[in-house]
Amino acid sequence: MAIISTGIQASATLPRLFTPVALVASFSISLTAFTLASTGSEQGTSVVGVALGGFALYLLTVVLASRLVEGRRKATDRLVTSLVTAAFALAVIPLISLAWTVVSNGVARLDIDFFSMSMRNVVGPGGGALHAIVGTLELTLIASLISVPVGIMTAIYLVEYGRGKLARAVTFFVDVMTGIPSIVAGLFAFTLFLVLLGPAAAINGFAGSIALSVLMIPVVVRATEEMLKIVPNELREASYALGVPKWLTIVKVVLPTALAGIATGVIIAIARVIGETAPLLLAAGFTTSMNYNPFSDKMMTLPVFVFTSFANQGIDTQSYLDRSWAGALTLMLIVMILNLFARLISKFLSPKGS
């Protein structure tokens, strides 16, 4: 018997409907088995048990059937495909569950009041998060205005100019900065302003922006560095050969070519810091009042709003919880809009091919 058949014709294949049928059958059997097992006992049917049992049964059926009908290579293929798909499902389930929980709990208070009122003098139901939304937007904007130029210029130095010890040192410190726990960044900004302005004025919105910048700069540097590295060297040489100085080559050839990637990286960095809670709790504080001025007085932000609403629930517990969920949902929507924006930018700015 030949181990490898000499023809090029495929051996027999399982019918296309086999996979869905096996899937449905396995999980039905598993469900029935666990339901029967749990009748009489106090616990209900275990969802995890049904899923695991069903998956194991499906794996066994498919691999055995495929081994018998299709041969060893196809059976291995089906086994690995099933495992990879299961891993994907396992990764997505918490995400969907989280999104669903936030939306279903948060949508109750997502009304006009929520976007038009602060929490000043509100103890029961009502009130809103306008002060927190304004705070988050202002703080993130200031943090971006600081981090984006610093980050992009650092990356340009590292990719285009950096040689030797200084460049290695910069790379090392960027790596270290990436690993700074966010609470430490908050403590840094808080102590900095404590030293500069004294205890009365130390906590303000700008201190929060500084804390966010510390977290954001390394992310921007890393993203920009990667994007600049993939700009082909041939383009730089083409520009040099036309008698264009190095700095103009960077400004007019390298940066435009990498712009889409850099913009995406920057927006991802913003999305990363916009949800920071701990550093803002320390550096920007929390308040129930409107404050448009980031340079004086405490400033509320959405993550801190979510945290304080949940931590200090007051008498009318439910309305505090509702506001907390609505705050979380608003934050998620802002991040989603930013991501959408990043996709649009990379679509419109990327170099156009044929």
Partner: protein, 259 residues
């Protein structure tokens, strides 16, 4: 405006490694000079010293004198950026700027240097440069399309148009056809022959038929072994190099007995 280039005891280094040793030659204006030789013999390195592109690589430098119409471009007062404005270069792989249209690619030498130009001047220049590169008829209706939308051969001619648009004195071509099909190659070769009416043309090629077809002068380079510097073995009229070379190495190479 073609210029005569004179190389006087040129040594080219990558850090400590000497890649090319003691080159003495005169490159004539209004002629095509071809550099041939096996891989790694320093042809590309040498052509990159003619517009001071070699020193872009960290640690790389050049020793000796390189006179362009009597002026040493390696003297301390010379700005390498200004040299590159007089010496255009076409690379092995076509490299139009991906963020620019065909039109902007042609005038990129001006745009990237922030030179102001009226629209009618720019239009005239684009048409002249594209006609000079034999590309005008193929792209005149789609000048606003991205440069990367063209075929490989068209892209290479676009790069030539870009190089001649800044009106240099010398045009360097580093294996300009090695990534192209025979028809595009023929187009580039015809173009090179036209360009020598106005410019000094230097071309590096692995294709000996190409060197014998288009060049007036041919320089043969060789290395004694890996890690050794490349040397100029023989430099003469192209017919002489290909029919009756004075060096045994040259004869072996052009007749295909080695390399």
């Amino acid at each position: 405006m073609a210029k005569r280039i004179e190389l006087k005891s040129i040594d080219v280094y990558y850090g400590k490694f000497k890649a090319v040793e003691d080159i003495n030659m005169v490159i004539e204006p209004r002629a095509i000079t071809a550099f041939i030789g096996p891989s790694g013999c320093g042809k590309s390195t040498l052509i990159r010293t003619l517009n001071r592109m070699h020193e872009v690589i960290p640690g790389a430098y050049v020793d000796g004198q390189l006179l362009m119409d009597g002026e040493n471009i390696y003297s301390d007062e010379v700005d390498p950026v200004k040299v590159r404005r007089q010496v255009g270069m076409v690379f092995q792989r076509p490299n139009p700027f991906p963020t620019m249209s065909i039109r902007d690619n042609v005038i990129s030498g001006y745009k990237l240097n922030n030179s102001k130009m009226s629209k009618s001047d720019a239009d005239g220049l684009v048409e002249r440069a594209l006609k000079g590169a034999n590309l005008w008829n193929e792209v005149k209706d789609r000048l606003e399309r991205p440069g990367s939308s063209l075929s490989g051969g068209q892209q290479q001619r676009l790069c030539i148009a870009r190089a001649i648009a800044v009106e240099p004195d010398v045009i360097l071509m580093d294996e300009p056809t090695s990534a192209l099909d025979p028809i595009s190659t023929a187009a580039i070769e015809d173009l090179a022959v036209e360009l020598k009416e106005k410019f000094t043309v230097v071309i590096v090629t692995h294709n000996m038929q190409q060197a014998s077809r288009i060049s007036d002068m041919t320089a043969f380079f060789n290395i004694a072994g890996t890690g050794m510097p490349g040397k100029l073995i023989e430099y003469d009229k192209t017919e002489k190099i290909f029919s009756n070379p004075s060096q045994q190495q040259t004869e072996d190479y052009v007749s295909g007995r080695f390399g």
